[in-house]
């Protein structure tokens, strides 16, 4: 395997990780601040992708589509928070899982009714099409590079929001002691709705970004949701920093595992068998990673003890 290929695969892993981060950040934020397990997060991702595809089909403008995905997911987030989620904060985690699972079914079927069973068309905008040559002669997709940059920018933005602003201070306070900040006169329900909308918007953005290079279809959110759970468990539940580290770790492990394991196995097995065994093992790799992390750090890499 050449160095160029290896670097390209590392970039691919990074891009996959960054996408996972956008999903996991919202999930972990919502869990950290409100103690809520939100299975419907994958549906918000799907809503973002469908909103983007619909707006792009109508206007032909990708930027408008991205904005639409943010707004649509945030609006649905707020509606869901105010009608359903709000009643769940004081309930057991299992109740939350059950209720938000019901939301997945409702959102999936509603989307199917609205848009039909067949995948929608959403394409990369013309300015981001094609490839760029990176230093060292690596040819890489401009769109994927853009995704990496957007993801890192969101990570930086979230960091600044949470550590430097008044809202961020309240979010941190909410994580630590919910009763106390309520007693200090902060309107906790507005704060919760805001955090939920922020998480939803990030999921929607991620759905729209990914929708342009994947298939925009009903049920697209659930596989990503499972990976996002793996990410926040590895990173430590409730920690944004953990979500970033976990996401990139999972992205790199999965991508590099997929390409390196079959090569590794073919050094001592015959071609077809090596491919089969290697790819079978590669698909388990992130779960093995998760189990490994949990053995040594049961609360995750950045989880508070």
């Amino acid at each position: 395997m050449s160095t160029i290929l290896l670097i390209e695969q590392i970039l691919n892993g990074l891009q996959f990780g960054v996408m996972l981060f956008l999903m996991a950040a919202g999930l972990t934020l919502i869990f950290g601040v409100m103690g809520l397990i939100n299975l419907a997060h994958g549906s918000l991702y799907m809503i973002g992708a469908f909103a983007a595809a619909a707006v792009a089909g109508w206007s032909g403008n990708f930027l408008l589509a991205l904005i639409a995905s943010l707004i649509a997911a945030a609006i649905f987030g707020v509606i869901v928070e105010m009608t359903v989620i709000r009643r769940l904060y004081k309930r057991d985690h299992l109740d939350q899982v059950l209720a938000t699972f019901a939301l997945i079914l409702i959102f999936s079927e509603a989307t199917r009714w609205t848009f039909g069973s067949f995948p929608l068309f959403l394409d990369i905008p013309a300015v981001l099409k094609g490839t760029v040559i990176l230093p060292g002669g690596i040819e890489y997709s401009l769109y994927r590079l853009t995704i990496i940059l957007i993801g890192l920018a969101v990570a930086l933005g979230l960091y600044l929001l949470i550590s430097k602003t008044r809202v961020g201070m309240r979010i941190r306070a909410g994580e630590n002691d919910r009763e106390m900040i309520g007693a200090l006169g902060v309107d906790i329900s507005v704060l919760y709705t805001m955090v939920f909308a922020l998480g939803a918007a990030l999921a929607g953005l991620s759905g729209a970004l990914v929708g342009a290079i994947q298939s925009v279809e009903v049920g697209m959110g659930e596989p990503v949701l499972i990976l996002a759970f793996v990410v926040i468990v590895i990173g430590g539940i409730g920690s944004i920093r953990g979500a970033l580290a976990g996401a990139i770790l999972v992205g790199l492990t999965d991508t590099l595992g997929r390409t390196l394991l079959p090569v590794l196995f073919s050094s001592f097995m015959d071609g077809s068998a090596a491919t089969t065994v290697g790819s079978a093992l590669a698909s388990m790799l992130i779960y093995i990673l998760m189990a490994g992390v949990l053995i040594f750090k049961p609360t995750g890499l950045f989880g508070s003890a």
């Binding site: 691919n12 397990i37 067949f118 279809e217 596989p223 949701l225 997929r258 790819s279």
Partner: protein, 393 residues
């Protein structure tokens, strides 16, 4: 708060994942009380739902056109999950008392359901999945396949790759029974050299890593099998990757269910199947017309296979009572219906002997993308497993 609830949280997360993995189920039932009951078990939700919907719609259209009020159809969703498929199939057989099961799209599900259905004395008539395991030694007198044995379209793609002048092929497929059959089928007819062989996860949506391997390989062509959403994702990402090796594949990777979502990225690509929407015969023309009128879209090969499956069952129902299994089986074997693909007959393993066509993706004047039939790739092709099947009739 986190520390106190850590244990419960992990428990709840476990439950969360289990729930997310087993998305709910939707049932649609229609039809009338009658003497022949068909269980249509197919993928109607989640990824791959478009394929199941097409099979169902094509099938129901054929039953409706047969005008036989004695055929009742029960429709259920398998969610593309083997465990759900087995559960629903058992429910259909034991409490709904269906006589025939049909509908499954994916081979791993068919392998879980078909043997147990036939073991319980029911007929299983496959409108799509044709895994090698059920065509050779594992063939069964109550198992019929109206579509193809899985290898067929891929063998035709191998022959097409030879014609295209591909000498070193990069080949990949998802890692599940039909994916393995795909690569085996392709390699059987492809005369060049295989540069690299890759298996991906079933349902994988990001192919950046595989595309990077294609770029680094010295292949001069790519063969791939990626049904449903996987094909959409791959084609979009491939078109944007700057790799411009010629693509060839079975129709599943370029079918009518995915062309609208892929757009121009698929234009001009050659792919192989037993049928194309513009195939030159009366049965096909009538089918395409009536399907468009009923559902407002161009039928895919899945719809065509569902339709032919419906025709086959309806034809057998006019000749024999399904309760007399031997007579009904004999009626099925005759395949006395006008297939939309032209010539059609069953081999001894109850899989089709048929032509495979090369099709090309073109854009029509109104902007829609469609597959047009180019030429016959393999004529009167029978699968290689038939010789291993002990059935003799």
């Amino acid at each position: 708060m986190i520390s106190k609830n850590a244990k419960r949280t992990v428990k709840a997360l476990g439950a969360a994942t289990a729930l997310a993995l087993s998305l709910g189920q939707v049932a649609v039932a229609d039809g009338h009380a009658g003497k022949l009951k068909v269980g249509m078990l197919t993928t109607l939700t989640g990824g791959g739902a478009g394929l199941g919907v097409d099979i169902r719609d094509g099938f129901l259209l054929a039953i409706e056109q047969s005008g036989n009020a004695g055929i009742e159809v029960v429709v259920e969703d398998d969610q593309r999950k083997p465990d759900i498929a087995v559960q629903v199939a058992d429910k259909m057989i034991q409490s709904e008392k269906v006589d025939i099961l049909t509908g499954i799209v994916f081979s791993n599900l068919a392998l879980a359901v078909a043997p147990s259905a036939t073991a319980q004395g029911k007929f299983y008539i496959s409108p799509n999945a044709g895994p090698a395991q059920l065509a050779g030694r594992g063939c069964h007198e109550n198992y019929f396949n109206v579509a193809w044995q899985n290898d067929g379209p891929h063998e035709a793609a191998g022959a097409t790759a030879n014609k295209m002048g591909i000498k070193k092929a990069f080949i990949w497929a998802p890692n599940y029974p039909a994916g393995q059959d795909a690569l085996t089928g392709f390699k059987r007819t492809f005369e060049g050299e295989v540069a690299q062989e890759v298996f991906t996860k079933l349902g994988q949506t990001d192919y950046a890593a595989e595309i990077a391997q294609m770029r680094a390989s010295d292949a001069d062509g790519i063969f791939f099998f990626a049904p449903g959403g996987m094909g959409i994702s791959f084609l979009k990402q491939y078109a944007d990757s700057g790799v411009d090796l010629p693509l060839v594949g079975p129709a599943f990777s370029f079918d009518q269910t995915i062309l609208p979502a892929v757009g121009a990225a698929a234009e001009g690509v050659l792919n192989t199947a037993q049928w194309a929407p513009d195939l030159d015969n009366d049965a096909s023309r009538a089918f395409v017309e009536s399907f468009k009128e009923a559902y407002g879209r161009i039928p895919s090969i899945y719809a065509q296979q569902g339709f032919d499956t419906g025709l086959l069952i309806a034809s057998a129902a006019t000749k024999a009572d399904v309760k007399d299994a031997d007579a009904f089986r004999a009626a099925l074997r005759e395949a006395d219906f006008t297939s939309t693909r032209g010539d059609f007959k069953f081999g001894n393993n109850q899989h089709p002997i048929q032509d495979f066509w090369v099709r090309k993706v073109i854009q029509l004047d109104d902007g829609t993308f469609i597959n047009t039939a180019v030429e016959v790739a393999l004529e009167d092709r029978q699968d290689v497993y038939a010789t291993e099947c002990a059935l003799d009739w």
